[in-house]
């Protein structure tokens, strides 16, 4: 199997779909000639030419909207939002237009569009370029949201998203772009949108995570009898998979990069508690960053993001006591 970087897995997924389907096109800021600010469209302009691979002006509203229009007219556009925060100037096109077009046309128009956005902390980009902000995309029936967590899922979810008949947002953990590893290129049998991945089986505890925290969770839980689930799709998320695991373990921990207030984990926890109250052996809880902006500076940013050592310590305490552990910022008396 080829050794590639996470960012290359995305470029390969795009290229493989573009070869298969002439309707697939890619545009965004500096995705063509520069091959992407994060080099996630390497080789595309050279192979597919300037009609299907285009640089755009700095106009997220216009080119996201252009994606909606092009999709409605039969193309399968993949557009790139360089940093998730920039969706803040174009959200209308994603949640109010793309997500609702199918319903608004009585099911006649389809919007087979992919919106890729890089998310998350760890790169030292500061508080306006480091958030995950999945919350902008929820409460929007019709819009799917997937989050790759490793090289293989980046490749497969990207291809699955392009083949999906509706709008799909792919949130790419920026911190993983440089990761190197094996990639199996395939033509079908991709990870399904809407299906979670059991990354490791276990019986003492169910850990649900997403994005860059899946790897950190796996590292943290090495040697522990924990079932680690990569949610992989946030909307619609795989209730069945989490349910099955929870029935077995009776203990649920969410590990998320989103801040504790407003983060995605609450929905998982809430719905699972309503459904499996009787199965629970201990209080479920969420491991997350504190409710603060993402700090600049290596040390503080590393502290902000739940790291394996911290996850391990929190979960060890939980398994030992069946009590919800105290987060580091309370332990240290910082709030």
């Amino acid at each position: 199997m080829a050794q590639v970087r996470f960012r290359q897995a995305i470029a390969l997924a795009l290229a493989d779909e573009m070869r298969k389907d002439p309707a697939v096109m890619v545009f965004g800021e500096d995705v063509a000639h520069a091959e992407g600010p994060f080099k996630t469209s390497e080789g595309l302009l050279a192979e597919f030419g300037p009609l299907r691979v285009r640089d755009t002006p700095i106009s997220e509203m216009a080119f996201t909207g252009a994606g909606v229009g092009a999709a409605t007219a039969g193309m399968k556009p993949v557009i790139e939002i360089m940093f998730m925060e920039f969706m803040g100037v174009a959200l209308d096109m994603v949640v109010t237009e793309a997500a609702k077009f199918h319903y608004l046309s009585g099911g006649q128009f389809k919007v087979p569009m992919v919106i890729r956005a890089s998310v998350g902390a760890g790169g030292g980009f500061g508080l306006q370029h480091s958030q995950t902000l999945e919350n902008w995309l929820v409460a929007t029936p019709g819009l799917k949201v997937v989050v790759p967590s490793d090289i293989q899922s980046a490749y497969e979810l990207t291809r699955a998203a392009i083949r999906d008949p509706g709008p799909v947002v792919v949130l790419e953990p920026r911190a993983l772009y440089g990761d190197r590893g094996a990639l199996e290129q395939k033509e079908d049998g991709f990870l399904e949108i809407g299906k979670a991945r059991i990354m490791r089986g276990g019986s003492a505890l169910t850990v649900v995570s997403m994005g860059q925290l899946v790897g950190k969770s796996l590292e943290a839980l090495a040697g522990m009898d924990a079932e680690v689930i990569d949610l992989s799709t946030l909307v619609p998320w795989d209730q069945e998979c989490v349910s099955q695991s929870l029935k077995k373990t009776g203990k649920l921990v969410i590990v998320q990069e989103a801040p504790i207030s407003g983060g995605w984990g609450h929905e998982i926890l809430s719905l699972m508690v309503s459904k499996h109250f009787a199965d629970l052996k201990a209080p479920p809880f969420i491991i997350s960053p504190p409710n603060t902006p993402v700090p600049y500076g290596k040390e503080l940013e590393e502290l902000y993001i739940p790291q394996p050592a911290y996850i391990k310590e929190q979960i060890a305490h939980y398994l030992l006591t069946s009590q919800v552990p105290t987060p580091w910022w309370i332990q240290r008396g910082l709030i």
């Binding site: 509203m61 216009a62 252009a66 092009a70 409605t72 007219a73 039969g74 096109m93 609702k100 608004l104």
Partner: protein, 330 residues
């Protein structure tokens, strides 16, 4: 559905005939006049935006486009939908929230849609239609098709960011899209000069090195001629055009708005330019129709709308299962 399609394509193709154009303008006028009454009756829920006085623009656009061209209109689109060929039953059914509506009655007055006629789901967010029309044009260009897209928007929409971004993008990519500004002098309750830093919206085309025209939006022939120039340019790879049609919104902004904020006599000053009046006078003057024939057409349309209302009053409301359909694209 297929029978509706047949009726609709006939309504569309027939529009090349000037007499049919007059007939359609009557239809739109009476349709809109009745909506106001139905709203007061409580049969139209929420809100509605009518377009009396702007029928020439509705019909002119429908005449110049092919059915596979795309149109992005706004919440003020009953007239465009009817002109493009949508049946009054399908339009009123939607506005009154009945299963006979073009999307089954779950959308309402602001949300008409007719893919078979090129009508995109009409836009309730000001400015949203412009980038999306540009995107449809992008698809046509990328596939090497000769189709075009048109975005219809108001004077007020020319102040929102999406307008600027869409026109720049369309110009840079030379997209086959026409930006048709329906300048009816008001954005909601505000007159244009209180919100807009140019006198003519068309002046803004220079910011995008884009050709533009200012036309009398009350004259259907002038609308047709101007659109044909722009559409020919677009189909032949000449890129986008900005057309500003000077029109007037006879009614208030929405539902019960009496537009008391308008200067004394402003409406009256526009009435002699009424698009229906202008067109009917032309046809009578050129001997195509007699006044009696015009009267007859007018009465037929009035009666037709009355029948549609009767029909729709008795049409069924959607059942709860309708809420759960067409959310996730299968």
């Amino acid at each position: 559905m297929t029978t509706r399609n047949a009726v609709q394509s006939k309504r569309r193709s027939g529009l090349r005939d000037p007499v049919e154009q007059l007939r359609r303008m009557f239809e739109i006028r009476y349709f809109e006049e009745e909506i106001v009454g139905l709203f007061s009756e409580g049969l139209v829920h929420g809100t509605t935006h009518t377009c009396q006085g702007q029928e020439a623009l509705n019909v002119g656009l429908a005449v110049t486009l092919n059915s596979d061209d795309f149109v992005a209109c706004t919440y003020r689109s009953h007239g465009f939908a009817l002109a493009l060929g949508l049946t009054p039953e399908a339009a009123l059914g939607e506005i009154m929230g009945r299963t006979t509506g073009c999307i089954g009655g779950v959308g309402g007055s602001m949300h008409l849609s007719a893919p078979e006629l090129g009508l995109l789901p009409t836009f309730a967010i000001v400015g949203a239609g412009l980038p999306i029309a540009a995107g449809a044009a992008l698809a046509f260009q990328t596939r090497g098709e000769k189709r075009v897209a048109v975005a219809v928007f108001g004077d007020g929409a020319a102040n929102i960011g999406a307008f600027h971004e869409a026109l720049n993008l369309a110009s840079v990519w030379k997209l086959p899209v026409i930006f048709l500004c329906d300048n009816n002098l008001y954005g909601e309750y505000s007159r244009i000069e209180t919100t807009t830093s140019v006198v003519d919206i068309a002046q803004r085309a220079s910011s995008y090195s884009m050709p533009s025209e200012i036309i009398d939006g009350m004259k259907v022939d002038e609308v047709i001629a101007s659109l044909n120039r722009a559409i020919d340019r677009a189909r032949s790879g000449g890129g986008p055009t900005l057309i500003e049609a000077k029109t007037y919104r006879y009614a208030g902004h929405s539902r019960a708005d009496l537009a008391t904020y308008r200067p004394e006599g402003e409406l009256e000053s526009w009435l002699p330019r009424d698009p229906i009046l202008v067109r009917q006078n032309e046809l009578v003057a050129s001997g195509v129709l007699t006044l009696t024939q015009v009267e007859k057409i007018s009465e037929e349309e009035r009666a037709g709308i009355a029948r549609v209302i009767e029909f729709t009053r008795n049409a069924p409301f959607p059942q709860p299962d309708a809420i759960f359909k067409n959310i996730w694209t299968g």
